[in-house]
Assembly symmetry: none
Homo-oligomer: 220 residues x 4
DNA sequence: CATGAATGAGTATTCATTCAT
DNA sequence: AATGAATGAATACTCATTCAT
């Protein structure tokens, strides 16, 4: 049945005219390179200082082509931001079977920080913050889709841990904010003000301490 | 008394002419109105979208006069930012005699949030973050002088509370980060992405919970 | 009957294949829809603001097909304009048997105005005038083929009326200009400056007066 | 008393600071050269094809200066058009004492045509017509201020001629339209479609005939 | 010393036309 | 023969900064 479904999807593709297929592929490729170039520009220069012409140059397309794919600079930026957070992999489930609360939280924190720093999300976050007055929608959506989403994931994890008797019953939305805040204060906040900020060696110690503080209050 | 005040101003360069004095006063007044106008513009529109011409207009001076006082937009911005954090009043001492740790922390948090929201520091913070790529110095200095400075004040308070036996001995720099982070996550972070964000009604509950979590781990 | 129609089309190049025939018909259909779409666009937006892409969209063809039929925007515009005036039906003859000069002229004027307003010729005329600097040929040709052609028709009518003794012998080219000008001043000229201009209620009065003035000088 | 009044006006001017005066002069000069350059461009290329950069170049100013004087291309165009028709000198009065109606009308027509052709008003008129869809206000205002204004002047003259018994009492608005239309049909209308159209040698004959037709109906 | 007019470098966006399939 | 994605050249407008008076 799986095969059949696959065939259902693939048959029309192969049956499609070569021209259509070719165009689809070329178009997708260009769109991809535009998004990559745009992300690089926006992360490096922020929204305002990123130039459409430079994005086009980096993507190796004309500005007109760029505008065929995205109707405006705002729309392109929104697409870049949306793609950034839609690619975030939630992995609270994956670590749900950790032996201890401490282990689970530390792993989750590690994953989160890895993604945040490796994918340049701090740079993108600064770019979004820059345009909060001009593009309030993008700001609000970014907050909802990345920050709030991870918060919900975290409080969901806590709810499950309560059910398993690994945590005291409590307001998990509050506690999720608290543990996230403890980590961000030392590890994300500085990155907002210093583009060269890297994860410090003390990272693990900071995580351990935050987890310990969390457990001191909410541990079973 | 009048003399005393005059002497305060004139002593440095003795026997200044009345004209010189007048000019000095006029100049200081203009500088003041420029800084006020600039702060208003930068908080309202961010660095990039603030216009020097508009600042000059609001300050009721010509653009040339504006440039006599500040050599560039960057320099003016830096001056506004510096003034903003240098006017922050630290008040950890004032509440040092609180009866309980909880009371002391809650009062401190209240003061901090009041200043942050009433003086539009969130707006200014967004402006600084916006220009971190272009003006890294301003970003770093802002972090040092406002965020780090408040952090040092807080850990200093904790040190004193430890000495009085009201807190367990511990790494107070770490704990200061943690309690600050817990508050910011709910009460400052959203303001970064939504300029219309106001302190929520749940503010006191959030403060209480953060303090309780702090005390659960670090309380004596 | 079907054969007859086919023969009408096929006779010129005998023994054409069915495929060729089909293509010819399709091509003619497309050309037709392109011209219709183009006229709509040009009348609505003028030459410069009409967009080739929009014309293609309205005609339901690709831009490439559009360019197969017409080598440039200018050529397409010229074709639209040429078609517009070639479809003008002269009808001076038809009213040649009117009882009085007054009646003949009033009928002719009525017909002329009806066509001009109903077929959107005022809009097209504005479009032509707009491009007179860029496309002088189109302007001159439009003038020759529509304005001058109607003028010739009119002076021809006057010549016949002179022969019948219904008008004094005179320079009919001059008088044709005069009567046309009298009507246009009130009924066409305003439309050049106001696209929403409609024929006023006083239209008949204006026609009568112009005719009366004409007759006062040139009547037998 | 005349002298005193002059002094009243000049004193403040001379008392004005040299700087202010200098700037006023320079600014007026630049504005003048911008308007001249713009008129040349608009007459030559129409509104859409006139380029702000080219106008700036011809006026020997930067585009920014150009925008200091006129907020937009539309506004600049409107200013050019307004200046063109506000400089039209009505001179029906001046010829009010002509011996005969014929003489008065012929003189008036001559003046009108002279201005229209010498000042390039036909070119400007084409430019206005081009933008009637985009800038309806400019179109309507142009019609009101130039065409309608001259029409009112003409019918006013006719009213006075009726009072003097030189014309039959009649609807002078109608007759003004008629005589204007007779002239325009031969002498202005062709210029709308041919930028190189010049006043023909037959000009005087055309004027005479139009006047004669007018007098045939409305003469006393 | 103050002025504000002038600048030049910069940017987002559009559109007639072409070209690989 | 038909497609529509891609192009490049063009253009209105902005703004930090300077300069002649």
């Amino acid at each position: 049945m799986n095969m059949v479904r696959n065939m259902d999807q693939e048959t029309p593709t192969t049956a499609r005219s070569g021209l259509e297929n070719y165009r689809r592929r070329v178009s997708a490729t260009k769109r991809r390179s535009i998004l990559d170039a745009a992300r690089e520009e926006f992360q490096g220069n922020g929204f305002t200082h990123a130039a459409m012409a430079e994005i086009a140059r980096k993507a190796d397309v004309s500005t007109a082509t760029l505008y065929k794919h995205f109707n405006s600079k705002e729309e392109l930026f929104a697409a870049v931001v949306a793609e950034a957070y839609s690619s975030l992999e939630l992995n609270a489930d994956a670590i749900g079977d950790a032996a201890t609360v401490e282990e689970a939280l530390a792993t989750l924190a590690d994953n989160y920080l890895k993604v945040q720093f490796d994918q340049g999300l701090n740079d993108l976050m600064r770019a979004v913050i820059s345009e909060v007055s001009g593009l309030p929608e993008v700001g609000r959506e970014f907050y909802e889709m990345s920050i709030k989403r991870r918060h919900d994931e975290l409080s969901g994890l806590f709810d499950r841990l309560i059910q398993r008797g690994m945590l005291k019953p409590h307001d998990t939305s509050m506690s999720a904010h608290e543990v996230a805040g403890m980590l961000k204060e030392s590890l994300i906040w500085p990155a907002l003000f210093d583009p060269s900020f890297k994860l410090p060696d003390s990272k693990d110690k900071i995580i351990s301490s935050a987890v310990a503080t969390f457990v001191a209050r909410y541990g079973a």
